[in-house]
Point group: C2
Chain length 414, copies 2
């Protein structure tokens, strides 16, 4: 048995015990975790400071350093998020449906935890707590494999959480950290068939692709968003500008930020210069098609590849389209299936966009930035699925469960 | 573009058109398909006769020949199954939930077709019609890749179905057959990422494993059933015999047939000889643990590997266990997560078995043979999922759909 198989089988064994725990017990453990994280803040922040110092030494860029860094404020936010989970309904045990069959058997479909969940992520230590506690609340044991730059922070977090869970009678192995942060360990984890019931990669497009290419365990792809704003010819100009600027610049580094602007050729001459100026004023560099650049010569020329790029930066691609049909086909070709919005005053354009655009969240006259578990009212979010299997869009606790059929008979045979 | 990529992209393009078709139009196409299959029965049965002749020449064994063979009676049953689909509710378009958010946006979650579905299967030509029409009803275009022994039958079926669909205004490419039945073509199909939204393998354990190991598109594992009957010490002896015999021999070649008998050590001395005799009388060879063989010396000795084998034959493994805990751990270790049954009169044993056995369908006092879309009241079945992601247990039309969020705004930004 390799080390990875041993970590996996410990998580699997713990999942069987955790799956039997009533909600009250799991909530006690969450409360204990939140308290322990705060009481052990000195140890955690010191570990994190060592991670940050090492990352600086290795020349990590500031945006990444920021994601890696913790302070008392951020830690307090993390503890608060754990406490919030206590209030949410436990999805495990909910009966989805039930009926008596003609032969007298009673069949019910009941929601149950997935079992053993794996999460592979990058160097954001908050995901360690977030992922572990969402899994715990839904009755899943978790195998966590974070980025190597955050290993000291992750070790501290996991040590504290395991002890707190154990103090409430849960198996410590309901939270296990993969201590080996090599590339090889991630590959091995993706192939733990028969051990992991679900693997969630959280991170950039490269990580997601690597998981999709290599995993043999069931995967949910999350969080790659090449989101579009389509300004249809009938759009209200003020609304178009407001939504576009919000979707692009309110937070550029997130998956629900817009990356591409499509605009109808009828609207472009009057409206595109104004929209471009509003974005440029916020520091956005635009990459335009030839027709966009005729109207706005200051745009950089767009390469074909720009339309497929999730910039996560102050950059946006722009294309003038002949109308709704071209907009829909362009999105079908380049979108990652995350979130797209149309700005329009036309009923039929809105109706067709909602029905024909094949993405997790499709908006009329609202910013793509709303695709988020909190904004959708789920209370918590484990990620945003861009695939169609199992869960699509923001995933709350229910996405961490599956169902089983329980059949109550009295001797029936077929 | 390879031939496979071309087939895939034709299906993908057709899925966009099919996804917009109202239920009425899809039902017309189903009626036309059922009629055309019957009207063209001579062409279809001749093609099938050529397949059967070639298979005989190549030495295919009779059980497989039987699965490959069609006659007027079977074809009539196939047409009848297509007509039954017309009566079923279309899952696409159903609104699952909806609410107005505090900022006034209306969010609804609506069920939509998956898009482009792939099915890889063996030499059962009925799956060609079954798979194509279930996909059509739920609004999915389908790429079919059947076994090479059935290629002539499949070509005839697909030609007839495509023409019938087209005559009703559906794109012919909503049903495409992979004409290349090489192993390489199956591998290529499993890697059509970004084209296929879902891949369903239907067949034996070898096929399923190959798909799980090689696929990069989302997969639903189906139909491998190493099902257990656990006779708990309090079991009614008559009921135990009735359920066991039914689960083992009513149809040995199907995935919900029982493959392994577990019996409590307290019950074994009085009951196991009787159960063994009943099975042996039906022609079942038993492979027993040492304690079983002390009670029933005529049993063959079981190897460790017997407990992990789905025989699909008149064979069954037998193990005497110390009680419920050992039964549950044995099942956790060897089961494929399909269906398991306990026979008991004890409330707590029933309760724990239902909750702690981690399979798609868990029975108290009923035969595992009931795990079936028809028996569960779904009206139709595309397969039985043994994984936890997306669908678990018998999959009806709804398992061929996903959801999307449609958001109706009035200019909201975040």
């Amino acid at each position: 048995m390799t080390r990875m198989e041993e970590w996996g089988s410990r998580v699997k064994a713990a999942s069987r015990i955790l799956g039997k725990m009533p909600t009250g017990r799991k909530n006690e453990a969450l409360a204990a975790i939140a308290q322990a994280l705060w009481e052990n803040r000195q140890e955690i922040l010191e570990a994190n400071a060592r991670d940050v110092a090492a990352a600086r030494e290795n020349g990590m860029r500031e945006g990444m350093i920021d994601r890696l860094s913790l302070d008392e404020g951020r830690l307090s936010g993390i503890c608060e998020a754990v406490r919030k989970l206590i209030q949410l309904e436990d999805p495990a045990g909910v009966v989805e449906s039930g009926s008596v069959r003609p032969n007298g058997m009673f069949i019910q479909k009941i929601r149950v935890p997935m079992g053993a969940v794996g999460i592979i992520y990058e160097s954001r230590p908050n995901v360690t707590v977030d992922g572990a506690t969402l899994c715990l609340k839904s009755g899943n044991a978790v195998l966590l494999r974070g980025g190597k730059e955050a290993i000291r922070s992750n070790e501290a977090f996991v040590r504290v959480m395991r002890a707190a869970a154990e103090s409430c009678g849960l198996p410590a192995d309901c939270i296990v950290l993969v201590e080996d942060t090599s590339r090889e360990s991630a590959r091995e984890m993706m192939r733990l068939s028969g051990v992991l019931d679900l693997l969630i990669p959280r991170g950039g497009a490269g990580l997601i692709q690597s998981v999709v290419q290599n995993a043999t365990v069931p995967v949910i792809e999350t969080g790659v968003g090449n989101c579009h704003i389509y300004v249809e010819q009938s759009a209200d100009p003020d609304m178009a500008e407001r939504i576009l600027v919000n979707a692009k610049v309110s937070r550029v580094s997130v998956c629900n930020a817009a990356e591409s602007l499509l605009i109808d050729e009828e609207a472009a001459p009057a409206l595109l210069p104004r929209l471009a100026a509003a974005l440029e004023q916020k520091g956005v560099t635009l990459y335009g098609c030839p027709r966009s650049r005729e109207l706005c010569p200051e745009m950089e020329p767009a390469e074909e590849s720009d339309y497929g790029t999730e910039y996560l930066d102050y950059k946006m691609s722009v294309k003038v389209v002949s109308g709704l049909d071209e907009a829909i086909s362009h999105i079908a070709r380049y979108s990652t299936g995350h979130s797209e919005a149309i700005v329009t005053r036309d009923y039929e354009a809105a109706r067709r966009f909602l029905n024909e655009v094949d993405s997790a969240a499709v908006y009329v006259n609202a910013s793509t930035r709303f695709t988020d578990g909190g904004e959708f009212g789920f209370g918590a979010e484990i990620g945003i699925s861009t695939q169609k299997l199992h869960a699509r869009g923001p995933m709350g606790l229910e996405a961490l469960t599956t169902t089983k059929y329980q059949i109550y008979g009295s001797g029936q045979i077929r």
